[in-house]
């Protein structure tokens, strides 16, 4: 470490500013001449109040932070600029150091010369010059920063959980068990999510129902959990600690106060419908139904689109036969509003639609099944009572092909790996072998089995005699082409390049199971918008930090868990749910949350009451006092976007943390402190350097 120490505060500067330039090991120092930036700052920013400029190997290390603290105390610094990584990385860290030394944390500015400079440029001279400009921007800006106090909001102890899959159930139970109220919203008639459809779960082969049902029941009966099934959130207003959520309860046409869940209506209902949801299209349900026997809650719903009464005005069998008179055809959708302090999004996934891969023939060739169809088929409570049979419902297959990565790891569909399909395919191989004598082929690209006891399970399935063919399946057909295939007339032929043997193969099977990938719910973007969070281009919720904050979103007070964040298995979903719950509980226990004090304020003397700003705030933070003809910002609702500040024609609105003068000064620093853009290599010469 070395420092360019200026003896005394130069005349003309109001503040005493310290500049700290980080090497970040070699992350910054390899591309930016850190010492030069230090010297430049000392030499050229003295008239802006810089009294000390230092460089250090790792500013974020405790020794680096102590350096700042020491200078604040010994040199009487009134402002600090750290040139290191992105503010999203370590702003809190350095603000904390300032606070410990008695300097208001908002008088510290972290400017990024790593993500925004050393990592994206290769030319050392250019990157160094840019770093100097960035430091100057920070110094110019920080001179105009004001001491701020975080804005404290009380946290409503109630929590909203959206999505009643295993992730949502787990989150809800954790919070409810800790003694706080939860509203669990599920759009289907029952909670349970995808896990309710499975028979066995990898790698342990526990019975899904046996482990899920107790949790569902506990959630359903929990005194702290209010279930809103057959419901959806239609509006979210407010902010962290104080959301007002509107939930639409779709009409069930069954009075839950009277219904005992006896099931007579379902038994007697003459309307039989293919169940595309729970039975994945492999079985039937009635017009009035509970999706599955263990449903929570136990009350059925009437599917008006498939109800004879609603179609023709006749029938009414359920109403006539219901022993408690619970059927109520006049029920209407209802909206309720609830107040919550935090929200957990656990809306899960949807299965990739295998029809999109036309060459696999799903929907065209009857004996091509999806993974969810197979889950239902292998389920003892499913449509075939657990028998593994072809679409005709009787014939047992002699050979079964399981195709991996359908719609995943494929440029035409989704680039990502769906994470669970390898294991789920191995589970299927095991189940086929357990129930039939069929030969099982696994067509895989590579087997991804990184979880606990996963690889052991893979070994076990191999030992059980399944055949593993490495190669992406080219096509599945039901026509024989080669003379020696005559015998396989009527079967399915899987064409694949066996990349281990280096040969093209055409393997005849009776049944094909497509291990479709996981996709975000079709309305994921819309739901994200409603909750003010962002999704990646793929549609998965973006976490606040992929590693360090994996269940928080960018929006304060909104968390996410389970497959809403991306493909993952049950243990991970459960862990996410618990993690999100822990985050929420910490806040509830704290009772209040300190928020960034970035807020807009109206100077009422100068406000003319023109009402330009009134409709600009998405949080309705701006109120107009008609009597006085002035507008005012409610600081509890303001999120600090700054739109109204930039819009007010009278210049009556100012913003703390990002004031006009701070921003303009930063621009001054960025642009005037540097002799033009440094030379950089031509675009053609540049190439991406892998991380």
């Amino acid at each position: 470490m070395s420092a360019s120490n200026l003896p005394a505060q130069p005349d003309g500067a109001r503040e005493r500013i310290g500049v700290y330039v980080c090497h970040c090991g070699s992350n910054i120092a390899a591309t930016v001449d850190v010492e030069a930036v230090r010297d430049w700052s000392a030499e050229h920013l003295g008239d802006r109040g810089v009294v000390v400029a230092r460089d250090y190997k790792f500013m974020c290390a405790s020794t680096g932070q102590e350096l700042i603290e020491q200078d604040i105390k010994e040199l009487g610094l009134t402002r600090v600029v750290v040139a290191a990584c992105s503010p999203h990385m370590h702003e809190k860290t350095f603000r904390g150091a300032c606070r410990r030394a008695g300097l208001n944390p908002y008088l510290c500015e972290l400017v990024s010369i790593r993500e925004q400079d050393s990592w994206v440029h290769t030319d050392r001279t250019a990157a160094t010059a840019k770093a100097e400009a960035i430091v100057a921007g920070g110094v110019y800006r920080v001179a105009h920063s004001e001491a701020l106090e975080p804005f404290r909001v009380p946290i409503d102890p109630a929590t909203l959980v959206v999505g009643g899959g295993i992730a949502g159930i787990s989150a809800a139970l954790e919070i409810a068990d800790a003694g706080f109220p939860v509203h669990l919203v599920e759009r289907e008639p029952s909670i349970g999510g995808h896990m309710a459809q499975f028979d066995k779960t990898f790698p342990t082969l526990d019975c899904a129902a046996c482990i899920l049902t107790p949790r569902m029941v506990t959630a359903g009966m929990h005194q702290n959990i209010t279930l809103h099934t057959w419901s959806e959130v239609t509006d979210v207003a407010g902010y962290v600690g104080n959301f007002t959520v509107t939930i639409k309860h779709r009409a069930r046409y069954v009075d839950t106060a009277l219904c005992t869940g006896c099931g007579i209506c379902q038994e007697k209902c003459p309307s039989k419908v293919v169940d595309t949801r729970y039975e994945a299209g492999l079985g039937y349900r009635k017009g009035v139904y509970t999706p599955f026997p263990q449903a929570v809650p136990k009350y059925p719903v009437i599917d008006v689109e498939n109800c004879i009464y609603f179609e023709k005005g006749t029938c009414g069998a359920c109403k006539k036969l219901c022993p408690t008179g619970a059927i109520d055809f006049d029920q209407k959708d209802e909206e309720v509003t609830v107040k919550v302090g935090n929200i957990i999004i656990a809306t899960g996934f949807e299965l990739f639609d295998a029809r999109r891969v036309e060459q696999y023939g799903y929907g065209r060739m009857p004996n091509v099944f999806t993974s969810l169809e197979f889950e239902r088929m292998s389920n003892a409570a499913g449509p075939t009572a657990g028998r593994i049979v072809l679409r005709d419902g009787v014939t047992e297959p002699k050979a079964v092909g399981i195709v991996h990565c359908v719609g995943s790891r494929d440029r035409n569909y989704n680039n990502y790996c769906s994470a669970i399909c390898c294991m789920q395919s191995l589970k299927f191989a095991h189940l086929v072998r357990e129930h039939t004598d069929a030969t099982v082929y696994e067509f895989y690209i590579d087997i991804r089995a990184p979880g606990k006891a996963f690889d052991e399970f893979y070994q076990r399935v191999m030992e059980e005699g399944s055949v593993f063919v490495r190669g992406r399946v080219a096509a599945i057909s039901d026509t024989v082409r080669l003379p020696d295939e005559e015998a396989h007339q009527g079967r399915l032929i899987v064409s694949v390049e066996d990349t281990l043997a280096g040969v093209q193969r055409r393997i005849p099977v009776d049944m094909v199971i497509l291990s479709s990938g996981l996709e975000p719910a079709t309305d994921a973007q819309e739901v994200a918008r409603r909750f003010g969070i962002t999704c990646s281009a793929d549609g998965w919720v973006i976490e606040r930090h992929p590693k360090l904050d994996p269940v928080a979103t960018m929006t304060e007070g909104v968390f996410a868990a389970g497959c809403a964040l991306g493909p993952r298995d049950i243990p991970a979903s459960v862990a996410n749910g618990a993690a999100a719950a822990a985050r929420v509980l910490a806040r509830i226990q704290e009772g209040e949350l300190a928020l960034e004090p970035i807020r807009a304020t109206v100077d009422q003397e100068r406000c003319s009451g023109c009402r330009i700003c009134n409709d600009l705030c998405p949080y309705s933070a701006i109120v107009y006092h008609g009597w006085e003809q002035v507008s005012e910002v409610n600081p509890a609702l303001c999120q600090g976007c700054g739109v109204c500040i930039a819009a007010c024609p009278a210049g009556a609105i100012s913003g703390s943390g990002f004031s006009d003068v701070q921003i303009l000064s930063q621009i001054d620093g960025l642009l005037t402190a540097l002799g033009g853009a440094p030379p950089g290599p031509a675009v053609e010469e540049r190439e991406a350097v892998p991380a």
Binding site: G12, S608, G609, C610, C648, P649, G651, L664
Partner: protein, 392 residues
């Protein structure tokens, strides 16, 4: 030396409307005449520059300077009157922000001269152009030389106060005269240097009696395109681009009261860096469309954006005000030393921000570049020696 305070009024690049506004004082003008010794006022009395040049420095108590600086004569008089005056007031829109003459800053000097001497409306077969000096029979005839840009008074010399308006409303001139009179009597203190006199701290909407609602503009229209203008509803809400929201109050909202949109002659409100920027930001923000194509269509309704947003303020705008305007913005943000000479130096011009709520915090090296809203110790008001007893 006369016992009465000495007053001067001058017109540089201006239309003369400001002088007429002062004459409009009517009877109050008699009062002015008896309170002040008018030493220089070309619009109403004969005067020679040489007379002014002969005056001792700081011998004029207060000068009302109208007009922008368009030529070397204007500039000379600006420097001259600055030197001779204790208080220099940028009087009216031209002096304070350039006004209509400032719109010529969109054109080069050649374009300006072409428009006057060589277009279809002129009969000038020899292509005669003005020359600054002409020697004939041993005598040099001179006319002023045009400057390439029109500059505002405060871009040329430090200004103590600003009275906005095109022209300033007579009632507000009376207020200013009264204030100065009281200051002379010792019964009132002048506001800090750099303050705006004869106007408010908010914008025209503040004074406008029209009823207003949440703003959403689906179409901009000219007054002439509307069959009947709602007599009580905000004009902007009727789609008429009214500059009231961004224009300093003080006029009494006369135009909107007469169903004519405010065109912005009172200039920007306190602390505003660029009038047009504020106004365009406000208008655009409330355009009622989200799709680019639709937004474009609505904005097409503003036929001449620069004219709409900069009719009066182009010469003081960031982009067309010349380097001075930009530097002013720059310097405005330089950290100012506490206790250094600069801090004690009064900060002239549009004082704009009341010290309690500084917007653009400004202090810095002083010279001919004016300053904006000061922070730190409030700059002292210029001193006027009280003369005589209370006003008669």
């Amino acid at each position: 030396m006369s016992a009465k305070p000495r007053l001067a009024m001058y017109w540089a690049a201006a239309c003369g409307g400001c002088d007429i506004a002062v004459l409009n004082l009517g009877e109050a003008l008699v009062e002015v005449g008896s309170r002040f010794d008018v030493v220089f006022w070309p619009a109403v009395m004969d005067a020679k520059y040489a007379d002014v040049e002969a005056m001792p420095d700081a011998s004029i108590d207060i000068t009302l300077f109208c007009g922008g600086i368009r030529n070397d004569e204007n500039e000379h008089l600006a420097h001259l009157l600055r030197a001779k005056s204790k208080i220099l007031v940028a009087f009216g829109s031209c002096a304070s922000e350039g006004c209509i003459p400032g719109l010529a800053n969109l054109s080069t000097l050649d374009e300006i001269l072409d428009a006057s001497y060589a277009n279809e409306t002129t009969d000038n077969p020899d292509g005669v152009r003005p020359v600054p000096a002409w020697r004939e029979n041993g005598v040099t005839l001179r006319i002023p030389t045009l400057a390439p840009l029109l500059r505002t008074l405060d871009q040329v010399v430090p200004v103590d106060y600003t009275v906005p308006g095109c022209p300033p409303e007579t009632k507000r001139i009376e207020d200013v005269v009264e204030l100065v009179g009281k200051a002379l009597d010792g019964t009132a203190v002048l506001p800090p240097r750099g303050s705006v006199l004869g106007a408010g701290h908010s914008t025209v909407c503040d004074e406008c009696a029209r009823e207003r609602n949440v703003k959403k503009i689906g179409a901009f229209r000219r007054v002439t395109e509307i069959a009947t203008i709602d007599p009580t509803l905000c004009l902007l809400e009727q789609g008429i681009p009214c500059n009231g929201p961004a224009t300093r109050d003080g006029c009494g909202a006369l135009c909107p009261a007469a169903a004519a949109p405010c065109i912005g002659c009172y200039g920007p409100a306190d602390g505003v860096l660029d009038y047009g920027a504020r106004l365009m930001s406000a208008f655009a923000s409330v355009v009622d469309a989200d799709e680019p194509e639709r937004i474009e269509v609505i904005l097409d309704g503003i036929a001449d954006p620069v004219g709409q947003f900069y009719r009066f303020s182009l010469a003081s705008s960031l982009l067309r005000g010349g380097r001075e305007a930009m530097d002013q913005a720059h310097r405005g943000r330089a950290s100012a030393p506490v206790g250094s000479p600069a801090a004690n130096h009064p900060a002239p011009r549009l004082g704009r921000t009341p010290p309690s709520a500084p917007m653009l915090d400004v202090l810095g090296p002083q010279d001919h570049v004016p300053q904006r809203a000061p922070t730190g110790p409030e700059p002292p008001a210029p001193t006027l020696e009280p003369v005589g007893g209370p006003a008669r």
